[in-house]
Amino acid sequence: MTAGAGVVDAKVLAEVALTRAEYDRAVELMGRELTPVELGIFGAMWSEHCGYKTSKPLLKRFPTSGPLVLQGPGENAGAIDVGEGWAVVFKIESHNHPSAIEPHAGAATGVGGILRDIFTMGAFPIATLDSLRFGPPDEARNRWLMGGVIAGIGDYGNCFGVPTVGGEIYFEDCYTDNPLVNAMAVGLIRKERLMRATAEGQGNLVMLVGADTGRDGIHGATFASVELDAASEERRPAVQVGNPFLEKLLMEACLELIDQELVVGMQDLGAAGLTSSAVEVGHKGGSGIDLDVSEVARREQGMGAYEVMLSESQERMLIIVEPERQAAVNRVFRKYDLHADVIGEVNGSGRLTVRDGDRVEADIPLTLLVDQVPFRHPTGAPSPGRLALRAQALPAPTLTPPEALRRLIGSPNLRSRRAVWRTYDHMVQNNTVIRPGGDAAVLRIKGTRRAIAVCTDGNGRYCWLDPRAGAAIAVAEAARNVVATGARPAAITDCLNFGNPEKPEVFWELSEAVDGMAEACRALSVPVVSGNVSLYNDTSGSSIYPSPVVGMVGVMEDVGKRLTAGFKTGGDMVLLIGETGDELGGSEYAKTCLGVVAGAPPRLDLDLERRTHEAVLAAADEELLRSCHDLSDGGLAIAIAESAMIGGIGASCRGISGDRLSTEALLFAESQSRFLVSCEAKNVPALRNVCKRFGVASQVLGTVGGDRVEIGPQVAEPLAELMAIWERWID
């Protein structure tokens, strides 16, 4: 081992993303200079991506336990108990940066990565969702990014055979050069079969299976490039091309191994590749790992230990196997024509040892890489200008209510997403009881009456104006979407998409948002079981809106009692549950019809939110409702129009009133804790009683029927015309 072989100058440190102080700390902990491979390993494990050096102290604020939680943060994915012996495993992950330069491959590999996290837990992936943010669609480049991302997501999920059942797409200027691509995956498994990523048992074999290792996604390694020719640096692919076909085989084989109880532990290879996976399993198993990179099958010639250890080639899995089971394991891989190699051994050293044949390239105590990550504690502060935005008054309306309704329905943020989700197979596996296009998607669990509801939510504008309130609303809105199907919110996964946290303003946003989410999670009894952090979403100095995204899972005991958003039958009564306030701040109306992103986001009373959920769930349980839709972007008028368009039947809601509220607020305010429901006329008293029982307001707005959407005295638009506007997608 040649310690200190590289010249550790500022350039080298920048490439491994360590500060001089962090580097000195690593040297101090090791008691000697680092080899190039070791420096690469420290850089990767102490990075924000693997080590969460900025966000970890904040993440501790989340509630992570509860009666349903089987696995909280810390494993490849979280898991909750959904009853009758079943567990649901889920996690969300970002692939923002790769998608910004190669949207198709970037988004596709994002889906691939999150699917691996699910089946690494032993679970069969039963759904994916994708939460997307782009710049305005009138710019060709943004459309190109969006088209590529959507095609990439579809190509991966469709080929793999998992239904893509939900997600969201929003457009704001701030995402122009920095789109957000967050993919969530959900898996199902018998509770007792949950796998953990661990390497236990001295003498057990470390096997690498799946794709050959290439020079994919290796970050700055010039100092170690003695093995590289100058040109290869240039040719090194910055974005990986995923292989969903291979991933499907990998999943089938891995699940078969688990089924036959042939493995001790399993860990997918994601960020920082073999390095991160080996460190994770070794550390969790309380053992050591000895790897020989010369045993790793490669796609290219001339790759050195550094590249092999840090390659991010997709569709690879590390498995820990007892030596006497190796033959059986190989039989399974051979069945699927998968390539597997023994690349090392578990030992009791507590160290990660990396050899290339006889040469030791790295030898590091695992605890240094995991427990000694030097946390950063930046200070946060908002700029005065930011806080002033909240107090800014909105300009006077210029559009009539019917004009505003049409403009909103046709705005990129509110248009129907049918043209997107019909390119995703959302039905494969025969579980999709409520398909995309409503609030949450609902998947039944075969062999039971049970189902789960899943959705993602996040509102960057609210978070920009008030990160704490906006993040709390993201949780509440996700819960509302789940409740609107009749499911009880159970737990969330979250993706924290923020700018550069070294900026005090961004760190303040992050800290506020985490507090807001944590508070909402506590109030609504939905723990955080997994998540992901994506920082440094900046381009040319400006950051994206703070954009936490919440992925929610809810549980329904009787799928027969599920609710959908569309109006059903003429003559049914339409009711608003909850109350409208003068709250147009940060709204879609303010943006689309007034041209401003300003004002305070709507108030969220978490106790009222919770009681409103209880009221709707009680009404669903008593089978009082014919339809149920939550209110969010665009407010009451949009909710009425959507329920009509989804149901394909008009409605007359003339009874809209509110004390001292402007027409604009009545129709378009985004006040929280509201649902739009319809029910048979005879059930109105019972429904209103349920609401009263929970201390929640309700109001009869009108009736379902006809071929127009009538709202208050001003709006009476033909349904067909609204649908034509709504269903026109961006091309």
Partner: protein, 87 residues
Amino acid sequence: MAAYRAEVRVTLKPLVNDPQGLVIRDALRTLGFHEVEGVRAGKLIVIDLDAPNRVDAQDRVDQMCRKLLANPVIEAFEALVAEVAAV
């Protein structure tokens, strides 16, 4: 103005993973073509266009490649332009 035909070949850069090429390689070997060492899959796009001369035609097609037909992050392109004999 004259008529030109451009043949654009878009291929993945050498170090980029090519799952399609791997499947074709394995399939050929399974079919008994053991002499196959490697396969890379790409696209062939044939464009008929008008241009005042060959140099201009080449220039325009190169622009098309950069703007739409290839993503330089993972792909390389090559465009061969030839005049089409008038019929």
